[in-house]
Structure formats: structure tokens, C-alpha cells
């Protein structure tokens, strides 16, 4: 145990570098994923069939293939055309992946808002878009927060897969340190602790937001 603690203390400057990359990677991918998810959610609820098909095809493709395959295909695919580093290839890959799940979450919560809300907005002379933006989406996002928080947690953990195309984030760092010392168990355990702490902090934040927004319901 004291060995573990010593290694933890010795390695933390390197792990903090990895942690930083994990956080940047997660943040960049989740912001993009949210935009992608919102976009495809709106395609799915639009009344134009071809737009729905596009969204369906995207969700089917992403849900039907493993994330690691998506990351590899994207990385080697993109680098055929332009040179892009592992960080951004990974961030885009994660975003496209999470985006499919977020699209479904947002679509579900939009459709769970009572039909009367749209009618009330329209009856006051608001356009469909205005009602969507001011009335439906704010309520839908509130309802989606627990599921979105969950998806964000999955996204953070999934970012570890980007190490396979060379990103030196938390998992990448622990792999490197492990191979140098053959002390894999210790370094992977340390990585696990960092992930647990990130997820714990995010859970607390999501809980707080949920509680604060609950007051109006």
C-alpha cells in the first residue's frame, strides 16, 4: 500500500498532464456532441421525411458500430486527406459518437413536452421556431439533464479509447508508465482513481443543477 502511495505521489505531475488532456478532450467532444445531438434531434422531429431518414441513418450507423472502430476509421480516414493530430481526430470521433446518443435523449425529452405547450405558443402568435426556442427547448433540456449527465460521464470514460491513436491522456499516460516499469497494475489503478474523481465531481455538478432547476416544476 505504501508502494502504491509512493508511486501515486511520484507520478502525479505526469498524470496531471494526462488529466488535463482527458478534460480538454472530453470538454471539446461533449460541446461538439451537444451541437450535433441537438441538430439531429431536430431533424428527427421535423415533419420532412428525408431529414428524418438522414438522422435515422446516422444514429443507426453510430449505434451499430464500436466506438474504437469509429475512432480508427475517422483517424485513418481523415489523415488520408488532411493531417490532423490524434487529439482532434479523437475529439471529433467522440463527438460524432456521443452525438447520436444525445440526439436520442433530446428528441425523447422534446417529445415528452405536452402538446399544449406548442399550441399555447402558437395561439399567442409565436412562430413554430420561436415556440421551440423559448418554450419547448428550455423545458426539454431540464428534463434531459439527468440523461445528458449520464451520457457526459460515459463520454469522459470513452475518451480513454483515444489513447489508441496516440493521445497521451490519462489512460495513455498510465499505459506508457506501465510499459516502462512493468508495474501495470499500479499505474492502471492510479488512472482509475483519477477517472473516479472526475466522474464524482461531474455527478455532484449535475445533481446541483437538477436541484436548482427543480424549483419551478
Amino acid at each position: 500500500m505504501s508502494h502504491f502511495f509512493d508511486v501515486f505521489m511520484e507520478s502525479y505531475p505526469i498524470f496531471l498532464e494526462g488529466l488535463k488532456i482527458t478534460l480538454y478532450l472530453s470538454a471539446a467532444s461533449l460541446v461538439m456532441a451537444f451541437v450535433i445531438g441537438l441538430f439531429f434531434a431536430i431533424l428527427k422531429i421535423s415533419s420532412i421525411k428525408p431529414l428524418q431518414w438522414i438522422a435515422d441513418a446516422y444514429i443507426w450507423l453510430i449505434r451499430g458500430t464500436p466506438l474504437i472502430v469509429q475512432i480508427f476509421v475517422l483517424y485513418y480516414g481523415i489523415t488520408e486527406i488532411i493531417l490532423i493530430d490524434a487529439f482532434w481526430a479523437g475529439a471529433i470521433g467522440l463527438a460524432i459518437h456521443s452525438g447520436a446518443y444525445i440526439a436520442e435523449i433530446i428528441r425523447g425529452s422534446i417529445q415528452s413536452i405536452a402538446k399544449g405547450q406548442m399550441e399555447a405558443g402558437r395561439s399567442l402568435g409565436m412562430t413554430k421556431l420561436q415556440t421551440m426556442r423559448r418554450i419547448i427547448l428550455p423545458q426539454a433540456f431540464r428534463r434531459a439533464i439527468p440523461s445528458l449527465g449520464n451520457q457526459f460521464i460515459i463520454g469522459i470514460k470513452d475518451s480513454s479509447l483515444v489513447s489508441f491513436i496516440g493521445a497521451q491522456e490519462l489512460f495513455g499516460v498510465s499505459s506508457s508508465l506501465g510499459s516502462n516499469s512493468f508495474d501495470f497494475l499500479t499505474f492502471y489503478s492510479i488512472a482509475a482513481i483519477y477517472y473516479l474523481v472526475i466522474v464524482l465531481v461531474l455527478s455532484v455538478v449535475v445533481n446541483r443543477i437538477e436541484k436548482r432547476l427543480a424549483k419551478s416544476d
Partner: protein
């Protein structure tokens, strides 16, 4: 002097799939009149009301607003809806907004009313419906009667020429019906043109200028409240009235 015709409906038809909900409806609503639509559920009252607000689009027939024929193809229905207020059975307040925010949302967003002015006008309306102590609470804390009065204020904030009420008291506990009907009565006394779908026959008789009895998507009988309630001509009207009174 003949009063101005606010709403005019000619040979209106509407179907949902195979279901022919409105059949050749003709209706005229004069300025400041209160027209009450009565009839069993499924008779088409609500659909007629929703057609007047273009929440449902008619299949054929004509709808005139202040003498002007309104068509989906030639008019911006969003602008038309600003002129025709609607109060719903289930209130449909915006739960994520406070009472005052509910009232000022559409004037600011749709009419570009300056926020300060919208707030002032909104407070006046809320005072009028007896909710001056509720500006900053969320709808979830209100009783059904209070919610419906907020909904009425929200609708009035757009300065509509006509107000439509779709069973405004049907979702309320019996003891809360009165406060909403009183608010509507005051509105009628101020000269608001109103079309009201309701099962409150007392209100129809007292406040209504005209009563329309609908059955199976048709207008069966039309007249002054005393004509309809005291001496209905049609057998169907008699049967309906005896079933509910």
C-alpha cells in the same frame, strides 16, 4: 346601427381522416357579443374554436375576421393568431416561467414591446384578474382557478380582438369554477368579443348573447339564450338540455 361582424364562418368543413368533424358550419359573431357553443363531447365545438384560431386548418369553407377573408395561402397565420386569443381547458401555462414572464413573453417576442412596458402592462392585466400578489411565483404553486386566470391575462396581453375559450372551467375543481367565470364575465362586460365552449349553462344563459347548440358536427340550433333554454325548437336540443339540466 348594425354592429360590426368580428368573425364570420361560411360553409366550414373539417375532417380528421374519415371522421367528418365539422359539416357546413355557418356562424357570425358580432362585435362585443358573447357566443356560447354547447353540445355533447365529440360534437365539434372545440374543433370549430380551433379552426377560428387556425390551430386546425379547415378543409374548405370560408373564415372572415373583421370582414377580411383569411386563407392559409394568402395570410401569415402567426399574425392572425395574435388577433385571436385562446384560453385552453388545461391552461397550458409555461411551467418554466413565472406568472409575469408567462404574460410578457409573447408581447416582447412577437410584438417587440419594450420589456419595461410589457412588464407594466402585464402587471395591470394580472391585477385585473386578481393576481397582483402572484407576479413572481411559478405556475406549479397556483390553484387551477388561478392558473386559468393567468392564462386569460396572458392571452389579453396580445390585445386580441376576439377571445376564444375552450372549456375553460372543465379541468377545475367545482369550487374554483366561479372565479374564472367571474373573470370572463367582467371581460364580457367590458365589451370583449368572445366565443366560449362550455358546459356551464348558468354562464351561457347569463352572459351569452347567442347560444349555439352543436351535434354531430352541425349547428342544430342558434339563438338568444332564452330562446334556446326556454323554448328549444329542435328535438335534439331538447334532449341535450334535459340530459344536462
Amino acid at each position: 346601427m348594425a354592429k360590426k361582424l368580428m368573425v364570420q364562418v361560411e360553409r366550414l368543413n373539417k375532417s380528421f381522416g374519415d371522421l367528418h368533424v365539422l359539416r357546413n358550419i355557418n356562424l357570425q359573431v358580432e362585435e362585443s357579443d358573447v357566443v356560447v357553443l354547447i353540445g355533447a363531447s365529440g360534437s365539434g365545438k372545440s374543433t370549430l374554436l380551433r379552426c377560428l384560431n387556425f390551430l386546425e386548418i379547415k378543409d374548405d369553407g370560408k373564415i372572415f375576421l373583421e370582414g377580411e377573408q383569411v386563407e392559409k395561402d394568402t395570410h401569415n397565420l402567426n399574425e392572425i393568431r395574435q388577433r385571436v386569443g385562446m384560453v385552453f381547458q388545461h391552461f397550458n401555462l409555461f411551467p418554466h416561467k413565472t406568472v409575469l414572464e408567462n404574460v410578457i413573453e409573447a408581447p416582447i417576442l412577437v410584438k417587440n414591446t419594450p420589456k419595461k412596458q410589457a412588464i407594466e402592462e402585464g402587471k395591470v392585466l394580472l391585477d385585473k384578474v386578481g393576481l397582483s400578489d402572484k407576479y413572481h411565483v411559478y405556475p406549479s404553486t397556483l390553484s387551477g382557478g388561478q392558473k386559468q386566470r393567468v392564462a386569460i391575462a396572458r392571452s389579453l396581453a396580445m390585445n386580441p380582438e376576439v377571445m376564444l375559450f375552450d372549456e375553460p372551467t372543465s379541468a377545475l375543481d367545482p369550487e374554483l369554477v366561479g372565479e374564472v367565470l367571474n373573470t370572463m364575465k367582467e371581460l364580457a362586460e367590458e365589451g370583449m368579443t368572445m366565443v366560449v365552449v362550455t358546459h356551464e349553462m348558468g354562464f351561457a344563459r347569463e352572459v351569452g348573447d347567442r347560444v349555439v347548440y352543436m351535434h354531430d358536427g352541425k349547428i342544430v340550433e342558434y339563438g338568444k339564450p332564452e330562446e334556446i333554454f326556454d323554448g328549444p325548437k329542435e328535438q335534439r336540443t331538447k334532449e341535450f338540455l334535459s340530459s344536462i339540466l
